[in-house]
Symmetry: C2
Amino acid sequence: MRLASWQAEPRQKILTWLNRVTDDQSSDFVPVNDRIAVFDNDGTLWPEQPFPNQLVFTIDMLKAQWKDHPEWAKNKIYSDLVNGNMEVLKSMGMKELVALLQDTHNSRTEDEFNASVRNWADTATNKKFERRYIDLVYQPMLELLDVLREHDFETFIVSGGGADFMRVWAEEKYGIPPYQVIGSYGEVKYEVVDGKPVLSKVPGNLYIDDKGGKPQAIHRFIGKKPIFAAGNSDGDQAMLQYTSSSNYRSFCMLLRHTDAEREFAYEKHTASGHLETALVEADEKGWLVVDMKNDFKQVFPAK
Amino acid sequence: MRLASWQAEPRQKILTWLNRVTDDQSSDFVPVNDRIAVFDNDGTLWPEQPFPNQLVFTIDMLKAQWKDHPEWAKNKIYSDLVNGNMEVLKSMGMKELVALLQDTHNSRTEDEFNASVRNWADTATNKKFERRYIDLVYQPMLELLDVLREHDFETFIVSGGGADFMRVWAEEKYGIPPYQVIGSYGEVKYEVVDGKPVLSKVPGNLYIDDKGGKPQAIHRFIGKKPIFAAGNSDGDQAMLQYTSSSNYRSFCMLLRHTDAEREFAYEKHTASGHLETALVEADEKGWLVVDMKNDFKQVFPAK
């Protein structure tokens, strides 16, 4: 059965729309070339609590590079993090977070950075679930990606997370190739060193793919308005708004995290995944609101 | 016959490589996911003489918006251009060219800009060839795009031209969807105006997708190193260099414009399409050098 991990009601809503836009006898028919679907990643395709997985990778990077950066010891946040005090993450502002990301991710070649992420993806394990982070992707959303692609949709990630971080494992976990992974990104420098072309990550010009930045990035990277969008937070609201302004019959979806037992329960009072105004707009515009506890038969893929 | 408009020698070189990288019994086999091909546009997929086609569109925009911008009359270059003096283009520097592009392309919504390009694409006609500009794409290169896609390649444009300009017609002319068209690009602004989401082109942060900017953009938009690249000028050299540094057996191609009769003959002494150092590197690295006059049986598609 298609969308087997979904309860009947949301499954039916998704499939009804999908039949309408792909049936060439329907007045809502959408040509194949215009079937673009966009998904937020953190909290939409995989968990983002108690903090986004990329921060786990970032702290691994902090530890791995610690010896080469004696100046980091003077930074209270960095030494707290490297000593396993994760509470400090909750008190960090955007500016400090960006500095941490740039310090740990930059001045590395494309190949070195990819190898670091590869190593993290292969080994880093979530203690609560006793599984690798990259195996903890939402089973119902994998099925949704599949059913869209079966209907000739192109599926894109549009995430606040780093594009370079996601691209290393997104193809194997989601079936989404790197050129359909849009995320936050910084500058790279091109040089020929000893006859060999090298791309290196360098500080500066950080693009934050969140809020209004999401439709802007969709324009820059995709160049077409999507007709399907899924998100879970106010950071996704502009992307859903933009999608729902399509001239075609579009479909927008918000995922509510309501399952403390199988995943996490959070909404308004959280740094990552804050959901409040988008829920009001979902109600006004009739976007599908998915309640994880009640609408997902299963959360993660079987072991 | 595959690559029917190519003479036997270059055709054989392309097909031999293609068989090697797609035969799973070959030591040069490349998995489908890594089959990425990149093409420059101006001078590689369509002509760029006596000046790039986007300038023809730009002057159309200048004329269309002339009445709304009385201040433009004070600009000698702009009034020359609007009066049909195309010679002035040759004396323009990069700074003046960028200003012209920004002045004519900006402060327009996504939909308005796309409609302007659509109108230009549907109507603008090249006087030398007595055909629409968008119909004057190189027949042998269309066949090359096709044969690559038949072998499960993803084909991308990586051009110094504007992404938003090319995306309007690239899908119908090249079979390349907007999200596989990489070009120069500027900023867009996202707003909700009277309840409607609007993206508008605004000045600032122009990214020039040329020279070292090409591998940088490949990293940003594709996230994988290509194994095939085609270009025609020194502006494509870094892209070809980067491609030829692949761990796979890659294929790079430079197109020489040698056919004054059927197209144009130019090389070193031209503003757009200057070819000099890339030709030296092609010789050193064994890239295929295609001579349009001798290697193309046919230049443009049949009418």
